[in-house]
Amino acid sequence: MTAKETPPAVRMEGITKRFGDVVANDDVDFTLEKGSIHALLGENGSGKTTLMSVLYGLYEKNAGTVHIDGEPKTFESPRDAMDAGVGMIHQHFQLVETMTVLQNIILGHEPSDNGFVDTATARWDIEDICSRYDFHVDEFLDTKIRDLDLGARQRVEIVKSLYRGADILILDEPTAVLTPQEISDLLDLMGELADAGHSLIFITHKLGEALGAADEITVLRDGAAIGTVDAAETSETELARMMVGREIQFDRPPRESPEGDAVLDVEQLHARGSRGLEQVSGVDLTVQEGEILGVAGVQGNGQTELVEALTGLRDVESGSVRLNGEEITDTNRRQRIDAGIAYIPEDRTTEGLVQDYTLVRNALLGNQTVDPFVDNGLIDWETVHDHAGDIIREYDVQPPNERSEAKSLSGGNQQKFIVGREIEHDPDVMIASHPTRGVDIGSIEFIHDRLLELREAGMAILVVSSKLDEIRKLSDRIVVMYEGEFAGAVDPVETTEEELGMLMAGHDAGTDDGDSEPSGGVHS
């Protein structure tokens, strides 16, 4: 790179950002060259979005400097960032659903004609932008956002940034909600934008996309920058190692009895997502006594809906769910709790705990029908209090105080409390969705040990996770979920990251995937 002639589009040095005691970014350096695509790769919670929010003026940094085009800058608000030509496309689109595409694009930057919005000029400008790239937004400028699919909304967001004069574009997990075709279109488009001189930062946790689309890749882990590599000279394996931190050790004792009785038995399960689209399309699975079945996959491939359909939080469209041979397909959430399905939810802050409740009150959550705690509809708070105390002690919840409010606990301690509560519920099957997401290392180990112990004790356990190391460490069998279906089943010891990665990307293991890899238009 010819950094001396042209200053880099963005240079961030020594960026540190703390939230209370948690260090979200620890002395991070990051450089984006002009006209290039730079992927910011890392697990959820590794600090990618925080770093970019600092750049975009959403967060105030605790230390470090930011240079844009060689000039030192301090952005106090997104407005400042935008004025300096930095645009950010958030994971949650910043679009007004009831307004049209045109209105959304020009919002806040409306051309005016005698006091009225000059839609003719706006239309002309937008069509001009669209014609320079392969955009297809101009055809539905008068359509309301709520009538657009997610891929189109994303393009509207990008056009909006370009319309506002952004040279540097930050895309935060832009592919998370898109279909494979939309992803491939988006990556093409990003290539075109870079060719036209824009500089792009591409936040992602998907190895393949980073490799396919970016020129350079910076890996973040636990808030620190692990390193920056040239996309042409690296491999998925190297990136995976950088992301995860170590070669994963598989020193588990071999399984005693892999063949137990089927506890949870699911056939041809179909379920729809919140938007009414089918997200689970014919899943078959069996979880046996004394085993952990791991469901791997990239977020948004139907795992959430699958788990909700199993736990009774989502209606089943068709198919059957049986627990110990008994049909429970049409039962509601409470009936399934009573039938013995325990659930460590994906989102502990909104689902697993009532944030304003004490741990005592939280200990009752999901246990409202359990006999010693509630009798004849009346709660015995003393018993619940003791139960909370037991969970706190046995699951090492800090601080050990039943009266603390859930929101005052760290993520790891919140999660340990939930795990304890669900295990102590004495279920027949345990469904754990991303059981260690955003949790500190110590708590991860603790939770993993508890789940493995539980398996030894003969429990049937289903673990859903997008962390490959977690899935491989815990599972006796692994299935990969892709677009609402199980793409393949592999053995956790024999499989490789590459094989899993390919299954997660929708390729059957072993088939040639060269031509269907998303092409970024930058690297071949």
Partner: protein, 357 residues
């Protein structure tokens, strides 16, 4: 935390009332009346003597009951603005059921007690049904509860107003009123020799507070309800059906409002009249509940405060030349300030009195 918030609530209640009164007194003075005399009659009207206290307690009884009705719903995150309507519907149901069944029962104390029971059951039931309606509309048609309950208030007032003018009007009544309920259908005064107030009414209110407190704090249903109010997704996770909870919450809230209506009908009015003229207990109750942070126990002091203000208003209207409308306005100001706790929090931070934010 809870203690701090109780202290804070008390401070906000005191500050709201003080600020509202200060504005009231300023207006009194500016309008050329004697502010000192105004304040003295205010206190006299609330607690000066037995009849004033009885009157205060009479209003407080209603504020406590309607306040609890609001608190039940607000605690569960359901914005029932329709307590006024449920109160009215409960009241007319009480009066009419007593009038209709009176000929079937013997006269005297026993018959009276029986009729009161019938009246209360009818009032509670009618209030519950009238509350369940917007609950069901929310659960099954996603109709905004705030708007439907406001509308149902007007409908209750209008329909009952028409009923007492036409089919339910007592024979030979010049005014649009129902017949009176029989003399013997009334609460014995016991302590105060005052028409329109009986300790039994207050006891019913306090018992209702106790029952609701137990339901909210100790029953599974209450836990489900309150959890829905705090964090609906967590409630759903724990097996609570959001739809069912909305309907049940609104039913319970309406039932308490119905009890308030029954107390009003039996203890105070003795007949039913055009509801547009009976006072806005169901609306004031929102402020009462808010002042008490929607805690059933906190409703008692908050209800007493509002009862005192209302009572002082009646007194001032009768015994001073300050227009009674002023006190209505001052009560409105109290409600306004109660709605803005942030105002006092910020003021406290500014003046260094406390409140860390």
């Amino acid at each position: 935390m809870l203690r701090a918030s109780v202290v804070e609530r008390l401070a906000i209640a005191t500050a709201s009332t003080a600020l509202a009164l200060l504005i009231g007194v300023t207006i009194v003075a500016a309008a050329g009346y004697d502010p000192v005399q105004f304040l003295v009659s205010l206190i006299n009207g609330a607690v000066g003597g037995e009849s004033a206290i009885a009157r205060t307690l009479r209003f407080s009884t209603l504020f406590i009951l309607t306040g609890v009705a609001v608190a039940v719903a607000f605690r569960a995150g359901v914005f029932n603005i329709g307590v006024q309507g449920q109160f009215v519907v409960g009241g007319i149901a009480t009066v009419m059921s007593i009038i209709w069944t009176a000929p079937l029962l013997p006269e005297g104390t026993v018959g009276g007690a029986g009729l009161i029971l019938i009246g209360f059951v009818a009032g509670t039931f009618a209030g519950g049904v009238y509350g369940a309606l917007p609950g069901a509309l929310k659960a099954y048609a996603d109709a905004n509860v705030i708007i439907t309950t406001i509308m149902l208030n007007f409908i209750a007032t209008g329909v009952v107003g028409w009923l007492v003018q036409n089919p339910f009007r007592g024979e030979g009544n010049a005014a649009p009123n129902t017949e009176r309920i029989p003399e013997y259908v009334s609460f014995p005064s016991v302590v105060f020799d005052s028409s329109g107030f009986s300790v039994i009414g207050l006891a019913i209110a306090l018992a209702t507070v106790a029952v609701i407190y137990v339901v909210m704090e100790r029953s599974r249903f209450g836990y489900d309800m309150v959890t829905s109010g705090y964090q609906e997704s967590a409630a759903t996770y724990s097996g609570v059906s959001a739809k069912r909870t909305v309907v049940l919450t609104m039913t319970l809230s309406g039932m308490v409002a119905g009890i308030a209506g029954a107390v009003f009908a039996v203890m105070i009015q003795g007949y039913y009249t055009d509801p547009s003229g009976i006072g806005t207990y169901g609306f004031d109750a929102i402020a009462v509940s808010l002042l008490a942070a929607n805690n059933p126990l906190g409703i008692v002091p908050a209800g007493l405060l509002f009862g005192g203000l209302e009572s002082a208003g009646s007194h001032i209207g009768i015994y001073t030349d300050v227009p009674v409308q002023l006190i209505d306005g001052v009560i409105g100001l109290v409600i306004l300030f109660v709605a803005v706790p942030e105002l006092f929090r910020m003021a406290a931070v500014r003046t260094g009195l406390g409140g860390d934010r």
